[in-house]
Symmetry: D2
Subunit: 349 residues, 4 copies
């Protein structure tokens, strides 16, 4: 195989940055050769700069990389961004202006009309927005984003059901603490407790879902017309967002049709055999008490969404439960899959 492509990581030392290291460890296409982070980490070896918090050990490839300033210049053309939203807006724009391809997990440009909010199984055609970026933003590079971690789970479940005409979606989430980064949620706040509030999360789910499932037309995205209402909570779970979903359709499909649509769902990443693509993007579990984060979150190396409990809803048409790995499919894995799709489509050349 040809030489691997060098990639950089912005925000390399935080929790999502660390997850990127695992996703890119021994990756067949990409090679992490550059790390950028805040001044506090600059000039230090990654092994010293990153307070490693993941159960899998730090990959050897990055231990001795020296963290640089989060500025374009010495970075490779493709950079993944795990930056906090507080700084991502400015830094990512600077990289795009300087000709870098920024594949970002930050929220700042997700709703930008010329930035794809990409899930390769769902809306690979949204990449066409990239062509509008130079004129609209003056970037010689590009920015591509993945959705918020709780949005991904919902969007993945809805994607195969689009054909039945989704009109209304009510979703209640129980989200893992890893979604809040490190140190993130204080133990005194969550041990044996539920926190019924996550700042900005409900709005993200309600708006991002419409854009993701929207149609790309003439260089713009027409948001899907479904109405989404979200309630979000934090629960004492390490990894895995669980979501209770009620869906109203234009015409009520049969339960068997829905189940079949979920179980047979596949997309471009599977057709292309992208390295991070799970064999099955969605698995439907027939047991009545599944999915559970403790048992199902690692399915498909964290890239598969687990669904269960499909049943009629007395108000809308159907209810179900969905689960996804928030730092893999909902963050670092999502971004890596995005970059893999771009490469396969020749957009990293």
């Amino acid at each position: 195989m040809e030489r691997k492509m060098e990639v950089g990581i912005l925000g390399a030392t935080g929790m999502v940055g660390q997850q990127f290291m695992l996703q890119l460890d021994r990756h067949p296409w990409f090679d992490v050769t550059w790390l950028g982070a805040s001044q506090r980490s600059e000039g230090r070896r990654y092994a010293e700069a990153a307070p490693w918090r993941l159960a899998s050990p730090m990959p050897d490839m990055v231990r001795d990389l020296v963290v640089e300033a989060a500025e374009p210049g010495r970075a490779p053309r493709l950079v993944f961004s795990a930056l906090d939203a507080g700084v991502a807006g400015e830094i990512e724009a600077a990289f795009a202006a300087a000709g870098h391809i920024v594949v970002s997990n930050a929220r700042n440009y997700r709703m930008d009309p010329v930035v794809p909010l990409l899930i390769p199984e769902i809306n690979p055609d949204h990449l066409s927005l990239l062509d509008a970026q130079p004129a609209a933003r003056g970037w010689s590079g590009r920015i591509v984003t993945n959705p918020n971690c709780s949005t991904v789970v919902l969007a993945m479940v809805l994607a195969p059901l689009r054909r039945f005409g989704i009109r209304r979606v009510m979703v209640s989430t129980m989200q893992a603490v890893s979604g809040a980064g490190y140190p993130g949620v204080a133990s005194l706040d969550i041990l044996g407790n539920v926190i019924p509030f996550i700042d900005g999360e409900e709005e993200k789910i309600e708006r991002e879902t419409q854009k993701i499932l929207g149609a790309a037309r003439q260089g713009a995205i027409a948001p899907h017309e479904m109405v989404v209402s979200a309630q979000t909570t934090r629960v004492p779970v390490a990894n895995g967002h669980t979501e209770m979903v009620s869906i109203g359709f234009e015409t009520r499909p049969s339960e068997a049709d829905l189940r079949e649509a979920l179980a047979s769902f596949t997309g471009v990443p599977q057709q292309l055999g992208l390295p991070s693509a799970p064999a099955q993007p969605i698995v439907y579990l027939p047991e009545r008490n599944r999915p559970q984060p403790g048992l199902d979150v690692q399915r498909g190396a964290g890239m598969t969404i687990s669904v269960g409990r499909l049943r009629p809803c007395p108000i809308f048409d159907y209810k179900l439960v969905a689960l996804g790995h928030n730092t893999v499919r909902g963050a670092a894995g999502a971004a890596v899959l995005n970059a893999e799709l771009m490469r396969a489509e020749g957009r990293l050349a």
Copy 2:
């Protein structure tokens, strides 16, 4: 004050039975003098028969009571039932037939057309059903029930909002492990996990709520016409069921009107000053991240429902979060309040 009334406890050794002991410890009106339980416990002192699992110590008044068979005869007229549903149907009927007043936490007779499903703040007039029991069931005694633990939280929140015309209610619950009794949920199933299924729970919420908020007319209850859709889960919380609720009204009230209705809610127990009645049946918390089981479950000695996060819903009219103590307001405390109302109304004479 006059002499206390003697009461018995059926199912005295289980988790709900233990909670009854705490609720009745130093009660101004009732005196626990008789305990009935399964054969395994018969003839043993309560202190030996009950595997005490509560954080508050076992009340002295019951330590030396000898557990008897769960049969009428030597039991006092008023008995509380903490029996499991598997045996409650037959035993409670036997007690009612023998002239006992059974104030039950079991589910068996909740949906019986001539048995009140009582929450004293909401439907004290449902006690009028009792007059139909002798003819309909042949009981010289009576049976009164309280709702399922997760139903109580929802019904309490909806009660003050009835005046605005409730049409649709979507509720997602996160329920504490104490609701499953002891040993109940295995630690391997719930540590760091969520179980998205509780057997029969969703049906109970959907049907019981309609009966509780229904109208008593001519010796029968006309269920409320609202449609309820429930999704229920178990989370690693010891005590306190948290519920995310979306409500659609006939005519959309203002947020201020709803808030005022919740905060000012009161009922017959407060007017009569019943011993177990909380000063405020509902407390509205203005903080954006409340209620939380860890901080709010003990409010009003566990008899107050905490509500927060009232806000518009993009699909229905409003969303909110509610919390209640499942073994107090949702079980033993509910039954004791029921008995207090009956006594205040002269129905225990």
Copy 3:
């Protein structure tokens, strides 16, 4: 009764400061009238300045107090200190120099030769050190300290056993997250996990215990000669430090003698009936699986140490398990009891 004494709280907004509010709510002798905290809180109402994190609601008496700078001057003579060690040294000395009586929970002066490290049931005579403070430190006021939260549990268990000649003590702790303050331990670090390290904790236990159990002679404390070896860990428990202890004696006492010594232990606070003194400073639980934080931490309103599992040790003489409430008996409750003893002995006049 005579008028209450006005008291101030230094470090009023942190976790220990909040616990002080609960300990002093409706206190028969003391009235909180002054709050001092860092610049960030200065000038704000306490209800706004303190991110209240306790399950019991904020006492009304302090809601509207305006937080002032942590400087002597307007503060009452008696101040409790819940300051962090990083600032406590300087501020407490300034208050003592200005004539205030500082009853501190901070570690800074605990090992100072002229500062009592006080547990009123154990070493009330150590208060005699106070007479040496003016000459030795130049303070017109005084400083009294209570031990580290994990030390208190151990020292309380050892106190009644001193008569048998303690020579060696091995202790392993499992400490609650509330001991680390707020936000303190990150949830990602402790959910389903154990952290086998607490900075400086083992040294504190090893040295403080010797001073507490030491003898006051001629204005100084001769440390007890026992050797203590400690291993400390953090576990996913909210409140309550559990400690596994092995003890070697000069002459091996009988198990019955030890049990009797523990169960009958009492001290000056009980004799004087100090308001915060538990009826029993130590309770011995005969059940083989006790004490447990979930069941026993609230005993004696958090001021009682629970002990169980006394049994022979194959290496030393005996092993046992002890449990105490770390923010009550191990912090705020300890300091309030110290102040009560001082008042009863006329040292606050």
Copy 4:
């Protein structure tokens, strides 16, 4: 490579039985072809009989195996036993009498003078006891056992330190709930709690360790003379027993010597390259807050013991913290490694 050896699993449906399935999935030497369990499971497909509770999915190889009675006869010569102690004694003896090689995780024969209590890195020569079994017990087959899960962690840490002359060992454990099987520990007992008692556990650690580290002489084991004192607790951790250890030596070695002995420890399984042998049986972690079950339990696929915090002890010579995976290195993985050693030594021929 030659044909795989067929193996059976006794007690196949329980938690340890399930862990055996994972350990033997795609094993290069062994092929699971027979399952034995209690009458309740007899005649059912494994996929239906076993309430699968592990995060890794059930291996396909065993899904369709039909569970048979736990009786010799149709079982292959080599059977692993995951039986409960209540039935293991009789059943394992019946299999041994019938000519089977029983590699057992049950406690029943661990202290039998002619049964090896085997950890292949530590005492491979104890296999010589097998030669005494026919005469002593009348078995044409054999029984080999692995230690209790908490004993393994301690014995592994002590093994490399034997050369310095171990005299006294004090150990305090914090054990995971998976060690108690399923349903095992009730969630109400362990959520946010510590249980300071595990029935029989302390005695097992104290006696088994002496046998494991003892010397095989003339067909018998002379127990090691060290004295062990254990305190055991259950904590809210899913997998991984953490142990705090203090060790007294005949002559105090240097800290560097101890660290070197731990880090360089290796044994027969590593020399022979046994399939389940970890590259490093012990890893020493230099970070001051390690090992932690949440971060380190999976090291070496669960077969490596993680050690940290080696430091002087004020009473004995040194203290340290050790961690091991209780259902892998402490149960199923231990038994599989035992069988691998037996095969490599020609004892399964």
